[in-house]
């Protein structure tokens, strides 16, 4: 198990994250997210599943070097196509990657758009900056991109202000913008939250189509189990700043190993059955009182004394690990 991960690291991975930790600047408090291990192979969609306070957005921002000033990377290495992009000395390299290398869409589509500028101007600027288009060509290309994202009247959208778009249209416009530079990695933070079911499934379809066509990879950060089930190949489950389980999506969803993943999946209502939804006792611990070992210990019905020591990754399947003492020696 450890061997396959090790060998994967040396092959042609798009993004590798090793032992990443992020915490408050100049503070003795424990790291907020820590021991983050992640590899994103080319042409792969990885899901990051977690509830509020799990640190999934903080992790995405750390990858892009966009952490807010009170936060800092405390340790760890982030490599993009083999090049180290962590640390201050690599800031230039990281800057050049944003756009053509990595692009991010955040949860609130309207936050990503300048409210006093036409949508078209914003997309065209990107195309001119990153892909060297002339003013006129950029306009044509932008219309083309919007057409691919299912806009019936792309020119009308280009001339619209962000507030004139509906939620679904704004989300598609932002995705179109993020994908306009053909990034190798798209980080989508809650790409469908706040959209109607019918719109959400359309937006996901467009997103996946464009990602597949441009042979890109994606990191889909969400709390929605339905989204990860639909679009991801591999799944990372986060709780209170730790990755508690990772593995192939289908396997994690059908055979969850970590007690947190089990509890989370048992909380998801489905149309098929009227079941007793259980929920998870307690709440995500706040960053000021993280327990020293496993951070799920206070909510876990299997907790024992050794849980006050951090468990390592235990293999529970092919490329499937759980960070829980329950799986020691299995």
């Amino acid at each position: 198990m450890v061997e396959t991960l090790e060998s994967a690291r040396t092959t042609d991975q798009l993004l590798t994250v090793e032992d990443l930790a992020v915490g408050l600047v100049n503070s003795e408090t424990p790291a907020i997210i820590e021991r983050i291990q992640l590899t994103v192979p080319r042409r792969t969609v990885i899901g990051v599943l977690g509830e509020s306070g799990s640190g999934k957005t903080m992790m995405s921002l750390a990858l892009l070097g966009l952490l807010s000033p009170e936060l800092a990377v405390r340790s760890g290495r982030i490599r993009f196509e083999g090049n180290d992009i962590s640390g201050r000395e690599n800031r230039r390299a990281l800057e050049a990657l944003r756009g053509p290398g990595m692009a991010m869409v955040s949860q609130q589509p309207t936050d990503c758009l300048n409210p006093i500028m036409h949508v078209g101007t914003q997309i065209e600027r990107l195309l001119r900056l990153h892909r060297g288009f002339s003013r006129r060509d950029a306009h044509e290309e932008a219309a083309e991109i919007l057409t691919n994202f299912g806009f019936a009247q792309p020119k009308a959208v280009l001339g619209a202000y962000p507030h004139q778009l509906s939620g679904g249209m704004a989300q598609r416009a932002v995705l179109a913008m993020a994908l306009a530079c053909r990034p190798k990695l798209l980080i989508a933070d809650e790409p469908t939250t706040g959209l109607d079911v019918t719109t959400a499934s359309e937006v996901l379809d467009y997103m996946m189509q464009v990602i597949a066509e441009s042979e890109a990879s994606a990191l889909v950060v969400t709390h929605d189990v339905g989204v990860v089930a639909k679009v991801t190949d591999f799944l990372v489950v986060m709780h209170a700043g730790h990755i508690v389980e990772r593995g192939p999506t289908a396997e994690v969803l059908t055979q969850p190993s970590h007690p947190y993943t089990q509890g989370l999946l048992a909380s998801v209502p489905t149309v098929a059955a009227k079941a007793e939804l259980i929920g998870i006792p307690g709440q995500v611990p706040s960053i000021t009182d993280y327990p020293p070992g496993c951070r799920f210990v206070d909510r876990c019905s299997f907790a024992e004394s050794r849980c006050s020591t951090l468990p390592p990754d235990f293999a529970v399947g092919d490329d499937h690990v759980s960070r829980c003492w329950l799986h020691e020696g299995k």
Binding site: S52, V197, I211, A212, E213, D224, G226, L253
Partner: protein, 330 residues
């Protein structure tokens, strides 16, 4: 037959300056101690209907009969008598609780203003309500910002239940919460209904959640109820193309195995005048000429369906299989 708790007939409400009424001739019925789910996309008019029921908007036509009181254009004295029995829990407990008041004051507020509870019993009643929503008694002195999202929603529920209402409107009660927290809230609401016999009107776009908590479902589209009936029938065997499309758009939390035909609505093109007959006519893949006329109500599998075609012909459903398997680029 005894008169139901709530009977709404032909209710109509239009926002000024809009061509089509937001609520257009709606009929609804809720019996004592039961739950009705009102589902639809954003903009379907479901929240507007809830606001008409609570007297927050003034309907332009139709009747609302609640415990024998007519609520359309009711006098202030009628509302004063009805309010304790008709309460609401809003979607976002962050904004529906006064941030300057302590939990005990928030919950005691309705008790004081309705005057239903003698002053010296208020303290005991607050303790009783906290116990009912499973909050610890030491939370009485807390302010909303000191509580988690789930705890805040429990306070909002306790406040709504303070005056022993016979009907509580729940407008998206869990959509602002994490899934493991939402599951616990739904569980609590069902417990309370079993204990106290409170009737619920759930307003939601989340069909999977509605399956867990409702007896009957009404599906709303552009101000009209297009299908209503027992929850199980409507959610497992929807007979209106719109209900079917809503269900088919749900992202299942497990990897999909069987490729069942899915009903996808056609994209909505803006700048078209609203249809006069069936509201789905321009988005429905089965639309025919007669659909330009208002559809009759047909009873199928115990549900009332407003569709010329109902039940959905299975051969036409299977014919839809093709467009769904469009090249996703892989």
């Amino acid at each position: 037959m005894t008169e139901p708790l709530l009977r709404i007939n032909d209710l109509t409400f239009g926002y000024p300056g809009q061509e089509q009424p937001a609520v257009d001739g709606v009929d609804l019925m809720i019996s004592e101690g039961s739950s009705l789910g009102l589902v639809g996309e954003s903009g379907s008019g479901k929240s507007t209907l809830g606001r008409c029921l609570l007297g927050l908007l003034r309907p332009s036509g139709g009747t609302i009969l609640f415990q024998g009181n007519s609520l359309v254009n009711a006098k202030r004295s009628t509302w004063r008598a009805v309010r304790p029995n008709l309460q609401i829990v809003f979607q976002d407990p962050q904004t529906s609780l006064n941030p300057l008041l302590r939990v005990e004051t928030i919950i005691a507020d309705p008790l004081r203003s309705f005057g239903t509870t003698p002053r010296r019993e208020i303290k005991d009643r607050v303790a009783e309500l906290l116990d009912l929503v499973e909050l610890s008694p030491d939370m009485t002195r807390a302010y909303p910002h000191q509580l988690s999202g789930g705890q805040r929603q429990r306070v909002a529920i306790a406040r709504a239940l303070a005056s022993h209402p016979s009907l509580v409107v729940l407008d998206e009660p869990t959509s602002a919460l994490d899934v493991s927290v939402g599951a616990k809230i739904l569980h609590l609401l069902m417990d309370i209904q079993n204990k106290l016999g409170t009737a619920y009107l759930f307003i939601s776009h989340d069909l999977a959640t509605m399956r867990q908590v409702t007896d009957t479902i009404s599906v709303m589209l552009s101000g009209k109820i297009v299908e209503s009936g027992p929850a199980e029938n409507v959610l497992l065997r929807p007979q209106h193309p719109y209900s079917r499309a809503l269900l088919d758009a749900i992202l299942a939390p497990r990897p999909q195995v069987a490729a069942v035909p899915r009903l996808k609505l056609l994209p909505q093109s803006p700048n078209q005048s609203p249809p006069l007959g069936c509201r789905l006519v321009r988005r429905c893949p089965f639309a025919e000429e007669r659909c330009e006329e208002p559809p009759p109500l047909t009873e199928v599998f115990g549900a009332q369906v407003a569709c010329w075609l109902a039940p959905i012909p299975e051969d036409r459903m299977s014919a839809l299989r093709k467009p769904d398997t469009k090249p996703a680029g892989s």
